[in-house]
Symmetry: C3
């Protein structure tokens, strides 16, 4: 859950009355999505579901240079998406009460990840 970090790295959001904030991930084996911010079992169930739905070791995969989690990570990244766009109202991310930003790591050993945060409005 990275909602707090986004606000922290871009304090200028507090000066925007009406606008949008984009968070973008510069990788193809990790992704961003918005989902339930309270119960950590939601995140566990996300991982379980995506591991079942995007199987490792499908013999039909051609791209597996980096191991059995390589191609599944690319597929999960596109199913969830590389950015989230959140409205800003009165200097705050105007998320629903249960919404938070997930950074979804799809590799077993993904290393650090670069995010790019952009906000605009007036």
């Amino acid at each position: 859950m990275i909602t707090g970090e986004v606000i922290h790295v871009l304090p200028q959001i507090s000066e925007i009355k009406t606008g949008i904030c984009q968070v973008f991930i510069q990788h193809t084996s990790a992704s961003l999505t918005i989902n339930e911010n309270a119960d950590p079992t939601v995140r566990k169930d996300f991982e379980m579901y995506f591991n079942k739905t995007v199987r490792e070791n499908d013999p039909d995969y051609q791209h597996d240079y980096e191991g059995s989690d390589d191609m599944p990570a690319h597929l999960k990244a596109s199913l969830l998406g590389s950015s989230v766009m959140i409205p800003i109202r009165n200097g705050k991310l105007f998320l629903g009460i249960w919404q938070g930003i997930y950074l979804c790591e799809h590799r077993d050993h993904g290393g650090s990840r670069n995010l790019v945060v952009t906000a605009w409005g007036e």
Copy 2:
């Protein structure tokens, strides 16, 4: 299909020559997507497909406080996404001729849903 409602709640779109309109949903068990606006069987097939692909009652779900449709609703919401972004040209949403905005309700009894519409451009 909520394309008409979006235009209705934000009449200022008509004053924007080139821009973007975002529609954002403040919930984690409903989603927004763009798809075929003409034949209602497409929407029925969407519901059928997502019910088959994101099963209720998977014994591996840990998060099921609100019933068997709880976790599947969260998963479907992230597969489809919490916002759509539509270009504006000459005061109109510049959708393709067959495109409309779907509000996808993933709970059996979801209640009312809040949307946030933001447009910008010049």
Copy 3:
């Protein structure tokens, strides 16, 4: 892979120091996503995976006027999405080193496709 084309059709991107570029597809049976730009087998594995996951000829489909690839194309389009949003920094699309824009054609005979490219910033 259409990353180069996007830059070509909107050379004004080079004048934007900080901003966003949206690419939008005006169709409901093709989609846009960001993924690995180097190894063409990733794109082949995408097609293989989505063909397995969104089956043709499901007897439960009601919408099949245009053939067995009709409804699967609509579903794949919404799973992947109708637009990508890319940050601009110092006049360039600020993609990660391995990221490129995929135009995903989901029909067997899709014809030409219209994209709408919009960029803003300062």
